[in-house]
């Protein structure tokens, strides 16, 4: 193929056109194939969650039309995970923990970021470096000692233990800091001259003008909380306060053969972040990549 393409170069005219068409077609075929590969586990999971276990195993092989498309569509597995296995409990737990972490976390980190971006104080540089170190050291590596810290507060198996250690986040703080650095000084000065207090400046001026960065940070925290595995695994062990990822993993360990239910639970937990991500993807990706590249 390469030879013919090169030959086309010299002959010009109509053959250059065919060359363009070929390379265009090739480009799109590659794009679409990767897309299929990327989406396949999800689509497959959705298809399997809409059929019964018997059907999944019956049509598993040999490969046929019904391997992919259910003979009889049913929502049974979705009904079962909620009715029999109380999947709503971990879902609600995770929503609760995420909501608290998002609100408290955004407040704490953004307020600190305002201080770092707009005020001068002693030891600012050292503290900021310490914060940077804290987010460069991966969370997994401090999980075990963190467990004993939380244990000494008697927070094991509590929502406090799940939430408080994750509130202050160096990466989120850094994201806010990047944004606030460019915040127009003149607006703040004008407010100060008018005698506005610091809380008033924060809530009435800074916050409304910084909505995009708040959205990004909130989404970042949400994704982290929703997909967190190791920390909830060690800290929230009793079934009552289990979070969603742990619930799914333990479901797999306890009921190995209930594939359709496992698919249904996986699909629900996969689609929720996607639903939140899609409308804000532009902000989110911008926020993540800019914090990474400047850092």
């Amino acid at each position: 193929m390469r030879v013919s393409v090169q030959a086309a170069d010299y002959r010009g005219g109509r053959l250059t056109m065919t060359r363009k068409v070929i390379s265009h077609a090739f480009f799109w075929i590659v794009l679409i194939m990767i897309a299929i590969f990327t989406m396949f586990p999800l689509l497959w999971g959705i298809a399997c969650s809409l059929r019964s276990d018997t059907e999944i195993f019956k049509y598993a092989r040999p490969l046929s039309y019904h391997t992919f498309v259910p003979v009889k569509f049913s929502l049974d597995s979705y009904i079962r995970i909620f009715r029999d296995f109380k999947f709503q409990r971990p879902l609600l737990n995770t929503f609760y923990v995420s909501a608290v972490t998002i609100i408290a976390g955004c407040l704490i980190n953004s307020i600190a970021a305002v201080a770092f971006a707009k005020f001068k104080f002693k030891g600012k540089k050292i503290i900021f470096v310490a914060i940077l170190i804290s987010f460069m050291i991966p969370f997994e590596s401090i999980t075990l000692p963190l467990y004993s810290v939380v244990n000494s507060f008697h927070w094991v198996d509590t929502y406090t233990g799940l939430i408080v250690p994750c509130l202050a986040d160096g990466l989120v703080l850094f994201l806010f800091n990047q944004f606030f650095k460019d915040f127009p000084e003149s607006i703040l000065e004008a407010a100060e001259i008018d005698g506005a207090s610091i809380p008033k400046i924060y809530f009435k001026i800074i916050m409304p003008l910084s909505m995009p960065v708040f959205v990004t940070a909130a989404l970042m925290v949400f994704m982290n909380e929703w997909n967190a595995y190791l920390w909830p695994l060690v800290i929230a062990r009793s079934p009552g306060i289990r979070l969603v990822q742990i619930a799914i993993a333990s479901f797999k360990m306890e009921r190995v053969t209930l594939w359709s239910c496992l698919y249904a639970a996986s699909i629900i937990s996969a689609l929720i972040p996607v639903v939140f991500f899609l409308p804000f993807q532009k902000y989110y990706v911008q926020g993540i990549t800019s914090s990474g590249i400047k850092g």
Binding site: M39, R61, L167, A168, S266, I293
Partner: protein
Amino acid sequence: MLIGPACILIVIFKLYPILRTLIEGVFYNGHWGLETYIRLFHDNTFWNSLWVTIKMNIVITPIQLVISLIFAFLVSTAVKGISVFRTIYYLPVTISLTVATLLWNMMFDVNSGILNSILNTIGIPNQGFFIDKKQALWCIVAIANWKGVGYWMMFLLAGLKGIDTSIYESAILDGATWFKRTIYITLPLIKNTILFVLVADTTSNMLLFAPMQIVTRGGPQGSTNVLMYEAYKSAFQFVDRSRSSAIVTILLIMIGTICVFQFKLLTTEEED
């Protein structure tokens, strides 16, 4: 002070545990000493874990970098509708590693998995995947790739978009092929982004843990028993805190060394 709450939380829940990890490793039966490390170095399980971790990382990080670069080039073209593909490629990132592992685990199933059915159709016999000690680790690598490349693609894409296109014009006039332009112009220009992706990717892969904990439990025959999982087991199954801390310290030292090495490698290229 406004930074008070954030700083207190970071000190208690981030910096103090880091210190504690470093300290616990050199603390043995109530006194200071390197006994934990000596014990560890006489332990075959540890050496096996170390080897598995290194083996996995030698393969996974370059693969992820290359694939995500290819993806980034593909989706950086200015064609109508390309943003749809960008979103699709990024979607696995929003899915948790837990769910990714579970979905793939069922697809990898020996008897009822879709992958074996597909292989059978094109005439390849059943594969063991997670049950086969030669394949299990690579299955995990595949899952991590599926979930990971979209994330790194976005960083590289941001780097590519930051390049001033006028740079290419003279190169095109000189008749440089796309391949040459990429090697001599594009890649050097996004070197910093590549460096960031390399370092961050290495760090996250060295600590990859969920698939082992959920599916393979380090097996079959220790073939997926990475250091992070060994550390987790030491702490929560064998209740041997100092062993776990020592392993984590070794992991951190390894990550640090590799990152320094990568920095060196990519900065010398500039001087050439």
